[in-house]
Amino acid sequence: MTYKLELTKVSKSYGDKKVIDDLSLGIEPGEFFVVLGPSGEGKSTLLKLIAGIEQPDSGRILVNGVDVTSQPPNKRNIAMVFQSYALYPNMTVRGNISFPLRMHGASKDTIRGKVESVSKLLKIDSVLESPVSKISGGQQQRVALARALVRDPSVFLLDEPLSNLDARVRLSARAELKRIQRELNQTFVYVTHDQKEAASLADRVGVLHGGKFECVSRYQDMYEAPLTKWLGDFLGDFPMNFIPINSGSGDGAVEAGFRPEWVKVGSEGFHAEVEAIESSGGLYYLFCVTHEGPRVVIRDSVRREVGEEIRFKPVKQLTFRNGMLVQTPGEKLSEPSSRA
């Protein structure tokens, strides 16, 4: 099977800063692929490369198996929604949505029909004649999406399209976006720094770090078993906890990693003192310093006091050697080496 979108060994530098470094990726037809990463890691640059706004220094980009690397953006048949929406400010909603159709020389009737149907789908048919500056942020976001959907592109690129919306609107827009993608069975490449968004939207998530994908898989899989320490640290509301352990062999630093919710607070395990508390939805996240030295975050259902002495024990943990995951969950944590 050919990929809908394929990048092979793509690199891009700005000056001597390597933003995308020898990156390869294959996205399947109808897939919802999310590029996740902290800000400044080159997510937008990656989309610009795919769209043809930026040229890669090396590597190839294929759409439906066809090499489009040297084609200009207007020949690639790729749609994109920018974080800022990039609505044409001097046009009405209708003018914005119909713009790509007009550029592709569609007939008046076709344009009218398509604009009507996509604006119904996105519930903006009542504001079609309004200037885009006179509608709400949520509506502007829909107009931007409508302008992408009204075409029949090979791939949709979305650069943090929901990040300018209020939290409430964002949640419903997210659900709606997923529904639309399923209904249309289109290929989406969606960029975000928001893990919840990635987790709820993606078929697969690629975490961008240092110009490469640190990992490409289902979000839940990489959350449960991050391939690297960096990934464990990055994923989740709170970073994964790491505690150095004695390794018999002595080749490299070995650490145990566990998530805040993987521990049992009680009468066994590590001794720690609570330094700070954050509550969230009836649960408490305790920021503790262990007697052995490392700081950890653990989750508990009981309200504690700052300064309280507690004991906790991971019920599930991972082992990392030199920052890489070496074993899957299940094994017991040996006594920590405080002097390691």
């Binding site: 706004i53 690639r76 790729i78 400010p89 713009f99 550029m103």
Partner: protein, 271 residues
């Protein structure tokens, strides 16, 4: 503000306004009052109830006004048009290169403006004689463009800087080629800057003196015509011409106010 403060502010504004408007008033007075109340008196009246159109009619019909008017208009439109035609791509380019390049370039733009016009005009006129441009409106216009273009480019550059780069990307992704992106998407957004650049260049040419007199003394533009007539002692004719010279300037200044409001030159185009 207390009442006294307010009174003082308005009084100050009135004084300043009067100071600037007085010459215009004198121009109108001389233009429309019979000469026996104005130019023929040693102490001319500051106010009169007698008005006439005879001054203007005589001046405009018997002193060869039409040719200079046409020449001035042709020159001004040439300068304005060139400013837009060249300033648009230049301003766009400046807004899209790195800050370092653009600030260096926009400073050097004004080198010509820093030199006295006469220093530039003399070598130009010798060249124009050779090229057959001496005495033509094209020659005068091209020389004036030297001063107008940097200004026009700078204004249009400022407008483009305020247009988010992503709009251009979006247009390209939506299927517009380079030309359609420029003319169909960017030009309408840059309209205030383009209009301001055109009007300022037009005005700059309209009352420009040094290049005009050096490059086309025999077939003059209006400012040169006024100068010739003052020299010959035809004060009444000069007054009438000066009135004509002033009218479009006043009109354009009013139009420019609209475009030179901050919002047009900065963030006014955000989506």
């Amino acid at each position: 503000m207390t009442t006294i403060q307010r009174v003082l502010v308005y009084a100050g504004a009135a004084v300043v306004t009067a100071y600037f408007l007085y010459p215009l008033y004198v121009l109108l007075l001389v233009g429309f009052a019979p000469v026996q109340y104005t130019l023929d008196k040693i102490y001319p009246a500051q106010f009169t109830m007698h008005y006439t159109l005879a001054n203007l009619v005589t001046a405009l019909t018997s002193y060869g006004f039409i040719d200079p008017l046409v020449k001035s208009l042709k020159t001004a439109f040439l300068v304005g048009g060139l400013s837009v035609a060249l300033g648009f791509p230049a301003g766009y380019g400046l807004s899209r290169v790195s800050k370092k390049v653009s600030s260096a370039a926009s400073t050097t733009l004004f080198v010509v403006n820093m030199m006295p016009a006469i220093v530039i005009a003399i070598p130009i006129s010798t060249q124009f004689v050779r090229l057959g441009l001496y005495g033509s409106f094209v020659g005068v216009g091209l020389a004036q463009e030297l001063v107008a273009l940097p200004l026009a480019t700078f204004i249009i550059y400022g407008t483009f800087q305020a247009i988010p780069r992503e709009l251009e990307y979006q247009a390209r992704i939506d299927g517009a080629g380079v030309g359609r992106t420029m003319l169909g998407v960017l030009a309408p957004l840059a309209k205030p800057g383009i209009a301001a650049a055109f009007l300022l260049s037009w005005m700059l040419s309209w009352d420009e003196f040094t290049f005009a007199i050096l490059l086309s003394p025999v077939h003059p533009t209006i400012p040169i015509l006024i100068y010739h007539n003052i020299q010959r002692g035809n004060l009444l004719a000069s007054t009438a011409f000066a009135l004509f010279l002033t009218l479009p300037v006043v009109a354009i200044t009013i139009m420019l106010q609209k475009y030179l409001k901050g919002e047009y030159l900065s963030g006014g185009v955000k989506g």
